[in-house]
């Protein structure tokens, strides 16, 4: 099984790795690159726990071949906070108790980031449909939606 | 005297008696008194949960009992 050499950008850093042609981006992130913040809940694109941004677009990393990322840009949960500290989405998720077990949280935060880039002032329906691919079994979604509404408000109307 | 009530699944150990009164100052003595009355009951009753005056104890043993105490043996409760 010959491995493929891939050069890509992950969270703004140039990264090189070797992978099998059939390996998913999720597998390489978690096993090869040690970026375990991206979670595996199903490996079939049904739960969204492995959400990452690929060239800024929200995707399930379990449904992207690692080889496909050659010359592209990947953003994972590890790339959301900055030197200044937590991203406002992360802060609001904490303030609203929008996580219980927390396994779906990285995916939801990445998905929320892409939502707010596309819809800076989303209504509740837009939020719910955008996040419908991110399963959460603990919260009933209520506090997640409120956290997203709150961060949207804060980002749209900075104090 | 302590009033003791057994659920159906333990009646096999009490010869079918559903309710008895025994003298005991704590749960250990209660089990001994019941063993004396229903030989061979100790193991099953000891593993059972019990409600003592309304409070459910999964592992009663040292709990004090007063005159007029009520003890209901019951299945152990699990939970998710």
């Amino acid at each position: 099984m010959s491995k493929v050499h891939v050069t890509t950008s992950i969270n703004g850093e140039q990264v090189e790795f070797l992978c099998a042609p059939e390996q998913s981006l999720l597998e390489v992130l978690r096993e090869g690159l040690g970026k375990t913040g991206t979670k595996e809940g199903c490996a079939t694109g049904d739960c969204g726990a492995c959400s990452v941004l690929l060239d800024g677009r929200l995707v399930c990393s379990c449904l992207v071949l690692a080889v496909e990322t050659q010359d592209h840009e990947v953003t994972t949960i590890e790339g959301i906070a900055t030197e200044e500290g937590l991203h406002p989405i992360q802060r609001k998720f904490l303030e609203h108790a929008a996580l219980q077990c927390g396994i779906c949280t990285p995916g939801l935060i990445v998905a929320t980031k892409s939502l707010l880039e596309k819809h800076p002032d989303p209504d509740e329906t837009t939020i719910r449909y955008w996040l419908a691919g991110n399963l959460c079994r603990c919260t009933g979604y209520d506090k997640i939606i409120r956290a997203v509404q709150d961060v949207a408000k804060e980002l749209a109307y900075p104090a | 005297m302590v009033r003791v009530v057994f659920p159906n699944h333990l009646l096999g150990h009490t010869g079918g008696e559903r309710e008895v009164e025994v003298e005991a100052e704590n749960f250990r003595e209660l089990l001994e008194a019941l063993e004396a009355r229903f030989p061979g009951s100790r193991e099953a009753l000891g593993k059972s949960a019990a409600a003592i005056d309304g409070q459910i104890c999964q592992d009663a043993f040292l709990e004090p009992l007063g005159p007029g105490s009520e003890v209901f043996f019951m299945q152990r409760i699990e939970g998710g």
């Binding site: 375990t36 419908a132 399963l135 009933g140 979604y141 209520d142 | 009530v5 209901f72 998710g80």
Partner: protein, 754 residues
């Protein structure tokens, strides 16, 4: 207990101490650890629902380069019969056979062998190289079929337990139980109205998003360290020791962060297999389940069949209630029929009732605890029946429940008299809630139902360390599944009188802290919380002693107020109060570091009641149900962390609604689950639900220092019947069976028209 006390921190909603790691991807869950030299384990699973294993040939797999260990049933010791103890329940020998089949496979997906290899792919290829010869047997897939006299037997040695005499013939009915009081026939004779019904609920899965995962590392001395996602690493250690006949002292379990459990991670599946593979391969072995494996081979909740009969007088007084209930145990005995039977009538003050329950073996996965195990199914039947009764009587369903509601002093159906409980308060709150009187849109219906769970106490340990600057480290043994670190820190902060931000909680492994039962049964905030409070009280006693020594006064002349030692009123000492930080700073001179400890078996868990109001809309042309509004009202005793209590209520509501509307295990005739994935096992997604309104009622539990009852289980109970009653209200037809799926609703509508 602390009654009518103003709390400074209890009841607030601060950010959890483990929060930053969980929003940045740093927190390590079951599958997130990788060890040097690690290899990968995989399980071969049965393609048949019921078959005898005639032979297993692993030689080809063993010969493959890179395959370092292969195990099957013969590699496991013969586990002895005996109770597992703790939360898990059931029989050790059954648990062992569930983890690895011996002579028979009892469900599709039952483990028959396992391999460890240098890569996941190689491990998968090695599984394909194992040859298993089966004699396929007819599967038993429904309760009715399993209970037939001539049904094929899952276990030829299974004789129904709890019958007056041991039966002559074995059966698939593993056990029965009865519960009753008064004279039901007399009660029915006094009734003006009687409702009867038969209710079916399918198997449903806990559906945690994190699949089971572990790493076992066994050394050449036979000692093993296991890292895994678990609701209770101490109980996992105990179970693994029993299944592998190992010394508990040779096993160390470390709990990772846990990605949901809801009861499903109170039992072991992979851990002993990984230990054995690691022992053979002499390498760390990582095992993770796929989502499909989680559905096929880990504990769902029982599918059930309930037969109900309830009678009442014209004034609403329930004169008698009778229930017959059968619970699917799956492949091995141990369905939650006991709690199901004991909870079904818990909200009611009944003179006459009778319950008969059966634990029935079927060729499906062995069930595991799922949030209030047994109660959602049984209480669905009763709460639907009570709704029908209200309609027959022309009474408001909340008024009917109030008329018969259990209260302090009522003799619970399971025996004891209730201490103070919050059912009436919940019912009254529901009646007064705007959600109950808000006008409904056309085509919508409203349903109400009550819920209940006993809650449990059990064993917990806690240590409280005071750091040199007066900050606090709480060490306990319960994996944090929904914010319990925050609750522990709040209780410690409140008790010690220090700011929440100064307290951190750590979950120790099995070698670094004392035994605790699982995080489950709504026990953690109650029991472990009690241990934390007691350990803090231990610290306070020590601080008072050290202050007394510092001041040269007697210990009883020192009080602890607002986080500092102060001289008691009237004590003639010209001293400045000593804060925790002051005492810690001087600890070297007063006896060394401050360490508080407590261990206990918490008794007196307080039952938690709930009332839910559901507004649902039914599309009469497609049968689709939309949830318009949902209100959950529940007695928490005392909410320690308000937002996480609301979160439990909202999450339980979502799970209950999922079970009511769409979730079910769908089997084909061969006993193969057809929807073993999140695409077709339809848990609610964000767009399926509205905001979930919550109202926390606080009727303090007198047995807890802060009045805690425990809140995690109860929320899943009432939504099932609340939804069914809302659909009944919307379409005018009672549908007894769940889920209320579109085809079922449309068929009911067409039958009614036809």
């Amino acid at each position: 207990m602390a009654e009518a006390v103003e709390f400074k921190q209890i009841g607030t909603s601060p950010v959890r101490p483990d929060g930053v790691d969980k929003v940045t991807g740093r927190a390590q869950y079951g599958a997130d650890l990788n060890l040097p030299n690690m290899i990968y384990g995989k399980v071969l699973r049965s393609p048949h629902a019921h078959a005898r294993i005639l032979g297993i040939d692993t030689s080809r797999a063993e010969a493959m380069p890179g395959v370092l260990a292969v195990v099957s049933g013969k590699d496991f010791p013969d586990a002895e019969h005996g109770e597992i103890g703790g939360e898990g329940g059931g029989d050790v020998a059954d648990l062992a056979k569930n983890i690895m089949a011996r002579n028979k496979v009892l469900y599709h997906g039952h483990a028959v062998a396992a391999v460890a290899a240098t890569s996941q792919r190689l491990a998968e290829e090695a599984l394909a190289a194992i040859h298993v010869e089966y004699e396929v047997l007819p599967p038993v897939l429904t309760l009715e079929d399993a209970m037939k006299a001539d049904a094929p037997l899952l276990d030829e040695n299974c004789y129904t337990k709890n019958l007056p005499e041991k039966p002559e013939k074995p059966s698939n009915v593993a056990a029965v139980m009865q519960l009753g009081r008064g004279d039901v026939e007399k009660g029915f004779a006094q009734a003006d109205v009687i409702v009867e019904g038969e209710y079916r609920i399918p198997m449903a899965h806990q559906g945690y998003i994190e699949p089971h995962a572990c790493i076992a590392n066994t050394n050449e001395g036979g000692q093993a360290t296991v890292w895994c996602c678990t609701q209770g690493h101490f109980e996992f250690r105990a179970m693994t020791a029993k299944v592998l006949k190992m010394n508990v002292a040779d096993l160390k379990f470390i709990a990772s962060e846990i990605g949901g459990g809801f009861g499903g991670k109170t039992v072991i599946y992979l851990e002993p297999v990984a230990v054995l593979l690691s022992r053979k391969a002499r390498r760390p072995v990582k095992m993770t389940m796929s989502r499909e494996e989680v559905f096929r081979a880990t504990g769902p909740s029982s599918g059930t069949l309930m037969r109900m009969k309830v009678g009442a007088r014209k004034d609403g007084t329930i004169t008698a209630a009778k229930a017959w209930m059968a619970y699917e145990a799956g492949a091995f005995a141990g369905a939650p029929m006991g709690p199901g039977a004991m909870s079904i009538f818990a909200p009611y003050n009944l003179e006459n009732f009778h319950v008969e329950a059966c634990d029935v073996l079927v060729n499906k996965p062995k069930v595991a605890a799922y949030r209030a195990p047994g109660a959602p199914q049984s209480m669905h039947a009763m709460e639907c029946a009570v709704d029908e009764l209200a309609r027959e009587l022309g009474m408001d369903p909340i008024d009917l429940r109030l008329k018969n509601a259990a209260d302090e002093g009522t003799q619970a159906p399971y025996g004891p008299k209730f201490p103070p409980i919050g059912l009436k308060a919940c019912l009254q709150a529901a009646k007064a809630h705007p959600s109950y009187t808000r006008p409904l849109p056309d085509g919508a219906g409203r349903g109400v139902a009550a819920g209940f769970w006993f809650n449990v106490g059990m064993q917990s340990s806690a240590e409280v360390h005071i750091n040199e600057n007066g900050t606090v480290t709480v060490v306990e043994g319960n994996p944090d599944i929904g914010g319990s670190r925050a609750s522990m820190c709040l209780m410690a902060a409140e008790t010690l009188g220090v700011p929440y931000e100064n307290v951190r909680a750590l979950i120790g492994d099995t070698e670094s802290t004392g035994f605790s039962n699982v995080t489950g049964g709504s026990r953690t905030t109650f029991a472990t919380g009690m241990a934390v409070v007691r350990a803090c009280e231990d610290i306070i006693a020590q601080c008072k002693a050290r202050a007394a020594a510092t001041w040269g006064v007697d210990e009883d002349q020192v009080l602890w107020e607002d986080g500092q030692a102060v001289p008691a009123p009237g004590v003639n000492a010209d001293v400045k109060p000593l804060s925790l930080a002051d005492i810690a700073a001087n600890a070297a001179k007063t006896g060394g570091p401050l360490l508080g400890r407590a261990s206990l078996n918490a008794q007196g868990a307080g039952a938690s009641f709930s009332v839910n109001i559901a507004d649902l809309q039914v599309d009469r042309e497609t049968g689709k149900v939309d949830v318009l509004a949902f209100t959950a009202i529940q007695d928490a005793g005392r909410a320690i962390h308000k937002a996480y209590v609301e979160g439990q209520m909202q999450g339980g509501a979502a799970q209950g609604l999922g079970w009511a509307l769409n979730e079910e295990y769908i089997y084909n005739a061969n006993g193969v689950m057809e929807n073993a994935g999140f695409l077709d096992y339809r848990i609610p997604v964000a767009s399926d639900l509205p905001m979930i309104d919550t109202q926390i009622i606080e009727v303090p539990n007198p047995s807890h220092p802060y009045g805690v009852r425990g809140v995690g289980e109860t929320p899943i109970v009432a939504p099932l019947a609340a939804a069914a009653n809302a659909v009944r209200d919307a379409i005018g037809i009672r549908i007894n069976d769940l889920p209320l799926s579109p085809p079922r609703i449309l068929a009911a509508l067409e039958n009614a028209e036809g």
